[in-house]
Amino acid sequence: MPDLIDALKISAAGMKVQGARVLVISQNLANQDSTPKLPGEDPYRRKVISFKQVLDRKTGLQMVDIDRVRPDESDFGQRYDPGHPAADKNGFVKTPNVNTLIEAADMRGAQRSYEFNLAAIETSRDMINRTIDLLRN
């Protein structure tokens, strides 16, 4: 039974990191149109999350955790909008390096992984309940 409790903890850690992943994706999607205020300034830069394996010293378990949230160093886009306050002398405004298609696919992946961890929790919980049920008769 302690192994199943450990399994619950591991799956919960998996759900936590996927939740953080969704948070970063939501941030990217919300800022997909965040242009700069003045010419020469940079717009919103896309953020990327990565995971790492950590040893939880209290329980002796290998858990997944957030490694870091780093900026995506790819190039910004450009849009011709001479009336924009941040337009350069040629009339172009820098746009964020956020691609909604990539974010949507990433969101789908996070959702899928979250569901897998949830399914693992449900199975572990059912196994615990089956064991406890042995006491009933």
Binding site: G14, M63, R112, S113, A120, T131
Partner: protein, 135 residues
């Protein structure tokens, strides 16, 4: 008479312990399904001899005698009881965990566990009948 002296009960207990350990590894694999460089690990199959002897794993964690002691850590990537799953499909970040395979393993584990619990329950019911205390 102790329950563990009955070979069937002892065997079922060993198998249930093995399945608990396996479920822990499946949960670990699923939680690391998006981690760069992660590889899936699984327990080596439980042999009949292990079941009869009542030992589901070779490597046992050190006993902690005080709640302030740190728990012993057995690395599933490098243990006598585990194997690394081979998967030809690897994502660009080096992750080779196949989530579908893990779901299959999880359902298989749950099904065998349910069977073991039911056999255990029936065996106890039979013992109760034998001593005239049937429900």
């Amino acid at each position: 008479m102790f329950f563990n002296d009955i070979p069937l009960i002892r065997g079922l207990g060993t198998q249930m312990h093995w399945l608990n350990e396996r479920q822990k590894l499946v949960a670990r694999n699923l939680s690391m399904a998006d981690m760069p460089g992660a590889t899936a690990v699984d327990l080596k199959p439980l042999t009949f001899e292990q079941m009869v002897r009542g030992k589901s794993t070779k490597q046992l964690p050190a006993l902690t005698t005080d709640p302030r002691h740190q728990k012993a850590f057995i690395d599933p990537n490098d243990s006598a009881d585990t194997t690394k799953e081979k998967n030809f499909a690897k994502s660009p970040n080096g992750n080779s965990i196949d989530s579908e395979q893990q779901l299959f393993n999880m359902n298989q584990t749950a099904a065998i566990y349910n069977t073991a619990v039911n056999v255990y329950r029936k065996n106890i019911a039979m013992l109760r009948t034998a001593i005239g205390k049937a429900a």
